[in-house]
């Protein structure tokens, strides 16, 4: 057991898998010598050499596209997109190939690729550095999209991701890269992908969140408790596939559900969770499934960002509204 933040935990997972399996290859912009702009890959090039951990040219389509080729040829690439806002040049390779190669070849070629990517706001960054567009990726058939919310989860989920034969978008909530520290088990362990985690049991309302939003919800829960409201908190962990069962069970119990996300509201993750709630628990619902989210706008530059971001107050406001509904 060591006390780790999420950066350490991800680095540890990469280290373990690089050690484990010669087919694991880590690359991306500035991940080698520098160890990544967030230092997530720090020290790995020194340890595993420049053929296994290296800087690529500055080209995201190139990074994901070559990862597909490597994977087809038996490697297990773990690539980094430097920020959420810079994955789009790779969009075609993701939607047209990484997620289709197995299906297209009827299982002959697999694409075990992990695309790691810091995402989300709240760090006073430049334009394009604060986005949360996971909903778009959730809509891509053949892709898995996962988000850890703690160092412990990050390590176990990343190891699972690297060991999976699917293409996985591993979204890292950069706002809490270093903000949360906890004990993380030594050595290898895995956390199954696609399973949500019930963080707190409650009876009045279910709140679904993930990544950096978990902490915001937990803060709101403290205030809600003062009002006598009991919240059940689900850490979704996996945007796709979604753990319908856990959601269904919880909303059947509480009758109320709110999803908290960072991205734009329309066509967001919240709508999908609401849809699941009404499909699974229509007759138990005591209030409309609702969402706390960003606006349908571009994430403002740092001075305006707090208007856009979800904070404990916004969440509390919605909890109270829904509980009183």
């Amino acid at each position: 057991m060591k006390i780790m933040n999420m950066v350490n935990a991800i680095n540890d997972a990469l280290d373990i898998k690089l050690y484990d399996d010669k087919n694991v290859i880590v690359y991306g912009e500035d991940v080698g010598v520098e160890g990544g702009v967030f230092r997530v890959t720090e020290g790995l090039q020194q340890k595993y050499g420049v053929t296994r951990v290296f800087d690529s040219p500055l080209a995201e389509s190139g990074i994901v596209g070559t990862a597909i080729g490597m994977a087809v040829a038996g490697l297990r690439p773990v690539v980094e997109m430097q920020f959420c806002g810079f994955i789009y040049p790779a969009f075609n390779q993701i939607i047209s190939h990484a997620t289709r190669m197995r299906n297209r070849s009827r299982g002959k070629y697999e694409t075990p690729i992990v695309i790691r990517m810091p995402y989300g706001g709240g760090i006073n960054a430049l334009e394009h550095h604060s986005e949360s567009m996971e909903a778009i990726f959730g809509h891509i058939p053949g892709l898995k999209v996962v988000v850890p919310s703690t160092p412990h989860d990050a390590k176990g989920m990343l190891i699972s991701a690297i060991e999976s034969n699917d293409t996985i978008l591993f979204m890292e909530p950069k706002r809490i890269y270093r903000a949360i520290k906890q004990e993380v088990a030594d050595g290898k362990y895995t956390i199954p992908l696609g399973k949500a985690n019930v963080l707190s049991q409650g009876s009045d309302v279910t709140v679904v969140a993930y990544g950096a939003m978990i902490r915001e919800v937990q803060r709101a829960m403290v205030m809600a408790k003062e009002q006598g409201i009991s919240v059940e908190l689900i850490d979704l962990r996996s945007i796709y596939p979604i753990d319908r069962e856990t959601i269904a069970k919880s909303v059947k119990k509480t009758g109320r559900i709110i999803t908290v996300t960072e991205g734009p509201r329309s066509f967001g993750v919240g709508s999908e969770i609401s849809q699941i709630a009404i499909e699974e628990a229509f007759l138990s619902l005591e209030a409309p499934p609702s969402r706390v989210s960003g606006f349908d706008t571009i994430v403002p530059l740092p001075r305006g960002e707090y208007h856009y971001m979800q904070d404990p107050y916004k969440i509390l406001y919605e909890i109270e509204r829904i509980v009183k509904y």
């Binding site: 080209a59 596209g65 080729g69 087809v72 490697l75 197995r102 009827r106 696609g194």
Partner: protein, 367 residues
Amino acid sequence: MFKEYDPLKNKIFRVMDDSGKIINPKWIPDMKVEEIVTAYKKMLFSRVADLQIVSYQRQGRIYTYPPNYGQEAITGAAGAAIRQNDWLVPAFREIGTMMAKGVSLKEIFLYYMGYEEGSNFKNASQVLPVSVPIASQLLHAAGIGYAIKYKDEKKVVFAFVGDGGTSEGDFHEALNFAGVWKIPVIFIIQNNQYGISTPVKMQTASSSLAVKSVAYGIKGIQVDGNDFLAMYRALEEGSRLCLSGDGPVLIEAVTYRKGAHTTSDDPTKYRTKEEELLWEERDPLKRLKAYLISKDLWSEQEEEKILPQYREEVDRQFQEAESFGEYKKEDIFIHLYSEMPDDLLEQKNQYDRFLQWKESRFNNQKK
């Protein structure tokens, strides 16, 4: 060769002239005569297949298909040059090379009949499925090249793209990565003069496509793509360079798409009869045949004899494909993930319930 034909010199590499006469004996490839005859026969087979597919399509027995017609020297030479261990990353106009690697014509038919199963090449290893999004496949080739180098294998990647494909960003990124990584990939541009209706001069202002190699610090060459001997020799040389660690290389193969872009295209809209006639003179099969006949390795009689056999063989494989049977609806779901997620399983089950309902409700109606 890559020095002598440095693309900056604006020279095209040819071994024979348009009539099949050797004009560049220095570079005749070191092939056994039977190998050349075999290659010719494969090119002929590929052409027979192409022409027949177009007529099947007219009969409504197959969907849209992009003929290779006129480009057989390139795909044939690549078929002759590629080894069992090498990788093939096709675009979608390379049936000659795919068949050489072991893909069956039946599989190719299945694909264009609308079955995914057509991309599950039973007897061909290290062949990627056809890639529809233009130029995107070149990055896969670069990734495979990296894996080969990383594992220290003695393999080469043959990667194809069209002239139109050179305009895409992925073309650039693939050649650039390959140059930086120094990997064993032969990038082959089938410059058939058009991307659908768009002539190559509207794709780029560069003096040739081969010259783009300069931008990536890699070797390049422009080859007469209708000259089988030149194509084979260039590919062989490219392979050798790749195997010795001096790759990647870029080969621009200058050719002409004699047919339509696909079976749903009408080339008279955008090109002239004169141009077509001009290229008719340079037909790759005609040229290689003339060469073989001049060497007494082939004859019109042999060709007359073999053509019906080829037609029959094509038809046989076509009919086999036609009797492939029902599309299994499970196939839609099973290959998305290594394990089917619950949600997808539930969608599949819902669909089954729907089908039962439909069956019971409309059982005396047509589907």
